[in-house]
Every structure is written in structure tokens, then in C-alpha cells.
Symmetry: D2
Subunit: 136 residues, 4 copies
């Protein structure tokens, strides 16, 4: 859990200390300035009562990619608002999330995270807004 | 995990079969037509890299209340879109979520979920839209 | 257009100077600390290509109520993010919007605006987040 | 107002009949399958009480591009939900909106609309979800 996915030690730390992400079995694949990629191998613990992957599990994966992407700058960033649209139901396999920065100002950064399945089809679209609190 | 929180067996089943909710330690408190309440006793597994409760854990709690509330009718309902605003950081204790139906048409239902801490202060505001797929 | 809808001169000014709200024919009904109500008498200029009231016109009405409600405090507030759900189509008559504050911190305020028709039925649910910039 | 911006007559009709878009001074630049571009030359009627372009005017421009993009298919599409983030204040000039389809299923389409100013800088990010009602 201490692999160097990013050249930025802050980004590695955001992931390494994230107990919730580890509890969900999320792996950070790579991270850079304003970006991050992660994956989650699906198991029974990710399913809802209908046997499909829980919206909360999909959100958790996307949220980790968002958190790592928005903490790639000097400022400590916290989530203000997220909008997520679910566009395809999934029953198993592996999910991938890729976060990209869509705007950045002194106080606010916005991020798009696309969640895809093993076939590369879009499962969910996650749009996050972060508040950049202070220098670390 | 098989207590009767609702007089509606479908609502109890939505919760009882929800492996993800159990993985997060969420408890259903009560449920009725278009409503549901749940709680989550916070532990280390709910924390992010900053030592505060993870946005994804807060989302998961609210999402369970949303799922139970929107499955109180004859139709099977699935989440289309969720918007969540984070308004207060939390470090531990217990979180509560209360879902209420804000509109209902043949195909679409909308729900508001308020997440509060032990002091009754608002932690997050979650607004979900569900698509009512078919009779069960 | 210079009636005193609020005891707070800042709230009256936010409305009185709002050229866009006047262009849409929006009237401010009343305003208080963290709240505002407005209405819009519908005409042909509010319709879309299907002959129903345009989502943008409904948004404009709700947005004016949001702007007046969030500028009832000492700080100058600007919109960061809005989520709107459309739950009923409307063809004419009068629309009403009522904004209520759902949370307030040093930098961020959140507001709910319910848009209703003449029958009191919900037409749209608008959730806005404002950034409180500075003392005026 | 009856120029052929698209080879698809339905797309042209969505714009041509849109009284609200004309009331705001919006022009459709081009449209194709799942896409549309529009612009709005800013005047005093687009301003709010602070002298910047009103969030509702920016929304109206993006919403027109969304409506034309999502009505490029055989089905009649109506807006269910929109999330908009405001990332830069603007005082005048020209605004552009470009809509792109981000997913499409039998009943639901999702669209991203980027609003930019004359310098090409992002002013707002608009994410819309449409319900595809029926064949026309």
C-alpha cells in the first residue's frame, strides 16, 4: 500500500492513509498534476440488494480518484459538492476510474471522473468541486 | 440483520440483501412509504487520509436511506443521479441519515436525504433521482 | 421595481439591479434572512420548442430567489454550483419560487428552492451552493 | 432564425421554435448527432445586480445547446436533471456553449456542455441528463 504511484509524495500520502479506500479494496494506479486513475476488483461486498454493484461503491472508487487528483497541488483540497450520474448497471469484474481537472482557480477546482468497466463502457460520470483550503 | 424495520417486506429486503451497506456497518432504523432512516457508527475504516470521515462513507450511508425510501412503492427503483453537498467535516461518533420523498411521477421519484451528526448538525445534503423501472 | 420587499436594503438592491430577472419578468414577493420568494407570470417568451415552459426560464426564476436569499447576510455571495431536477412540465399560468437556507458556514451557504405552479404542485427542485466572498 | 444549422430538421425545429432562446438572444451555430454549439452576444439584459453575467443567462445558453444535442435522435428528449458549476465571472463580450453526448441508453442520455468566453477560457460546466420519452 506504499507503492509510489505518483512523483508527488502528497498524492501518495492521500491514498496510503485512506482507510475507507482500503476497506473498499481500491487500488491507486497512477497520479499526476490534476489527474489520478484507480481500480476496484468487484466482490460480494460491493453489491446491493439487487445483485448489482452498489451506487455507493461506484461513488467510493470515483471519489478516491477525485481526492488524489485535487490534492496534487500545494493547497489542501476538500470536497464541496459532487454530482454523479449512473448510466450502466454492472454485476462484477473490475471497475476503473479516471479523474481529470476541468478548471482551477485560487479557491476552487473542478474535476470530472469517468468510471468504466472491463469493456471500456461508461458506468458512471462523476463531477466534483473541491475547495482549496490552505497551504499544507 | 433481519429485523423488521418496515411493515413493507420489500423495504426490509432491500436492506437485508445489501452487502455493501453491511460492509460499511450501516443499520436501518426505520422505513415507511417514501421514507427511511439509517445510522452508521464511525470507525477507522470510514476515515480518509486527513483523519475525517470519507465523503464516500457519508455518501454510502445516505445512499442506503435513499434506496430503501425509493423502493417502498410497487415499482423497482434504481438511482439515476445524485447530488451531494458536504457542509461539515466529522471525525467520529455516529452519523444519521433521513430520506424523504420530494416528488413522485410514473417513472421518476426524487428524494432528499439529510445526514446529521450526534449534535443534530447537518453534515451533508444528498439529493437523489430514481427511475422506476417496472413492477417487481 | 423599487418596492421594499425586504427590510434588508442589500436584498432589495440585489433584485432591483438584476436586469436579467427583469428581462424574464420576475417579481420579488418577499425576502428575509436566508429566504426569498419570487414569481413569474408566464408568457410566450418563456416557452421552448415543445410549447412547455423552458427549463432555463424555470432555472432563472429559482436562481433569482437563491441570489436574494444568499445575499441577506453581511457577505457578498456568488453561486458556485446548482443542481436542478425537473419534475413536472408546465404550459402557462404563474410559477412561484421559494428559497430556504439549508446550511451556513464561514465561506459556504447552501439553499433549497422549490418551484411550484398555481395548483401548488412542485415543478422543479433547485439546490444551490454559494461562496461568501467578502464583506461588502 | 430559420437557417439550417443541422442536416437534421428536428434539431433546427427545436431551436427555431424556442421562444425563450430567442428572448435571450441565443444563436445556434451548428448541430449534429448528439452535439450542438451556440453563442450569445452579451448585453445589459444578461447582467445581474453585481454587473456580471447572470448565472441564469449562462444556464440558458448551455441549456439550449443541451436541448438541441439531445433531440438529434429519433426520440423526443426532455431534461430530467442538470448540474452546473460556475468557474469564472464574466462582464461582457460573447459566450459560447458546446454540447457533447457522454452516454446514451434506451431511455436516458447524458450530455456535457462547456461554456467559454472569447478568450476560450471556461466560464461554466453544465452536465445534463435527458429522458427519451417516445418516438416523435
Amino acid at each position: 500500500m506504499t507503492a509510489n504511484h505518483s512523483e508527488n509524495p502528497e498524492q501518495n500520502a492521500v491514498f496510503d492513509r485512506d482507510c475507507f479506500a482500503h476497506h473498499l479494496g481500491i487500488e491507486l494506479l497512477e497520479a499526476g498534476e490534476g489527474t489520478a486513475s484507480a481500480r476496484m476488483v468487484l466482490g460480494e461486498q460491493h453489491l446491493n440488494g439487487m445483485g448489482t454493484v452498489h451506487g455507493g461503491a461506484i461513488f467510493g472508487l470515483a471519489d478516491l480518484a477525485f481526492a488524489v487528483a485535487c490534492n496534487s497541488r500545494e493547497a489542501l483540497a476538500v470536497a464541496l459538492n459532487v454530482n454523479i450520474s449512473y448510466v450502466k448497471a454492472v454485476r462484477g469484474g473490475v471497475l476503473y476510474a479516471r479523474a481529470t481537472e476541468t478548471s482551477l482557480s485560487a479557491r476552487i477546482g473542478t474535476y470530472e471522473v469517468v468510471v468504466t468497466d472491463e469493456q471500456g463502457e461508461t458506468v458512471a460520470l462523476f463531477y466534483g468541486m473541491a475547495y482549496r483550503k490552505q497551504a499544507r
